[in-house]
């Protein structure tokens, strides 16, 4: 996938895989509270959020948080 930022990846997901996108983001476009988005090994929360810039070869991983009970 070609994208400059994490947000651009999500935008592409919304266009091409809307059902999957709805599992990742709510109606406002925010990433769901219990999901974490990583660029390579770093949580975007510790980078520039969804505005985090991407470089060729970066791997994005979306992982549910460990929570519940």
């Amino acid at each position: 996938m070609s994208a400059d930022t994490v947000q651009a990846v999500l935008d592409d997901l919304e266009r091409t895989r809307p059902t999957l996108y709805r599992n990742v983001c709510d109606e406002t476009g925010a990433v769901r509270r219990h999901l974490n988005v990583f660029v390579n090994a770093d949580n975007v929360r510790d980078l520039d959020g969804l505005g985090t810039a991407l470089q060729p070869g970066d791997v994005i991983t979306i992982v549910p948080a460990v929570s519940g009970g």
């Binding site: 709805r22 709510d26 109606e27 406002t28 476009g29 925010a30 549910p64 929570s67």
Partner: protein, 370 residues
């Protein structure tokens, strides 16, 4: 001819289905379906071939609607779930009620944050109902402990009654196009004005087809000893309306507590109702001894029903949708607890028996004869 009694049990860990012959001597349990995900509302839609719906409220991946067309033996997600328009600014947190609409495949869903959605195709697509979802009060409602939920939807011809916590009772008399707050006589204990126009913490509303002007409400009571601004508010927890919900009066006298969550009407008599009083501070059974209370005269007096229930050391809670009654000739009452017990009250609550002792915490119990 309907010959099976089907219970749907929405829990913190998915939905269970329990089925029995009309004798109801023993129920066979299956599930959980949507395992691990909280289910806050279920519906057995018996218009035509029975269809079971359940809201699967996934905190990780968002809301889903589950649907079964094989008597609750298997469930599949519908093609979509209610969702706010992208420019609305709100995001769905929970689905608190699913009710049948007017047309055969029409469904209505009450959600959190408090809004109403309709589906005309059995849950595959949904549209927001703007008359209440964008009501001028909608952005002024505030959440109770359970969240800002629309938990009660009652359709009565062109009248629609909605229960919102905390928002109050809203009434439409044009089929759901427009709504007005209709809370005259409905008290609130958590703000200086004891009888505000809206913002009450209504817990549940019920009615009977044979008495459409009559409504019963379990409101957030427990304010008899309030000493702050506005003074004490005794008996505001259990209410009745005789004018289609335009005004309400207390019927709480005689109960050990006016706090509780569910309120249920007996299927063969509009004057017979059930509540489950709880301690207002702890929301558990008074004195650790659970009891259902029944009135057979529309709330003028109350009778304690506890035969078969624990007499001590039981501190569970019964949530707003966790008590129901079937409509067989001799109806049975059912309630589920936050400690995962499902109880049956045979002969209208005369004799209680625990059907299942260790389910996950129970949010919702519905029953249908199919």
């Amino acid at each position: 001819m309907p010959d099976r009694v089907m219970l749907t049990i929405g829990t913190k860990k998915g939905v269970f289905v329990a089925e029995a012959p009309k004798t109801r001597r023993s129920f066979a349990l299956r599930g959980p379906f949507g395992a691990g995900v909280p289910v806050y509302s279920t519906l057995v839609d018996s218009r035509g071939a029975p269809t079971v719906y359940a809201s699967s409220c996934n905190p990780f991946f968002g809301m889903k609607v589950l649907k079964s067309t094989d008597m609750g033996k298997s469930f599949k997600e519908t093609k979509s779930a209610p969702a706010f328009p992208k420019d609305d600014g709100r995001a769905l947190v929970n689905i608190w009620s699913i009710e049948p609409g007017k047309a055969k495949k029409e469904l209505w869903a009450g959600v959190e944050p408090a809004s109403l959605f309709k589906s005309y195709d059995g849950g595959d697509s949904w549209e927001m109902v703007p008359g209440i979802s964008n009501h001028e009060h909608a952005r002024k409602w505030s959440p109770g402990n359970g969240g800002l939920c629309m938990h009660t939807i009652i359709r009565d011809g062109n009248r629609v009654h909605l229960g919102i916590s905390t928002g109050g009772h809203y009434l439409s008399e044009d089929g759901g196009e427009t709504f007005k707050a209709s809370n005259t006589g409905v008290g609130a204990g958590f703000q200086p004005d004891p009888y505000p126009e809206f913002g009450q913490c209504v817990h549940k509303i019920a009615r009977h087809d044979a008495a459409p002007g009559r409504l019963y409400m379990q409101n957030h009571g427990g304010w008899a000893n309030w000493t702050g601004p506005g003074g004490p508010r005794p008996d505001i927890g259990v209410l009745r309306s005789d004018d289609y919900g335009h005004s309400w009066r207390s019927i709480a006298r005689g109960l050990p507590s006016d706090f509780g969550f569910p309120i249920v009407v007996y299927p063969h008599d509009a004057d017979t109702i059930y509540v489950m009083p709880l301690e207002p501070m702890t929301r558990t059974c008074p004195g650790g001894a659970p009891a259902v209370w029944r009135s057979e005269n529309g709330g003028d007096s109350w009778l304690k029903l506890a035969n078969g229930l624990p007499k001590k050391q039981s501190y569970f809670t019964i949530l707003r949708d966790a008590m129901t009654i079937d409509d067989l000739k001799t109806p049975a009452l059912y309630f589920g607890t936050t400690t995962g017990q499902l109880w049956i009250g045979r002969e209208g609550g005369e004799k209680f028996e625990c059907l299942f002792d260790a389910l996950p915490p129970i949010h919702n119990v519905k029953v249908a004869v199919v």
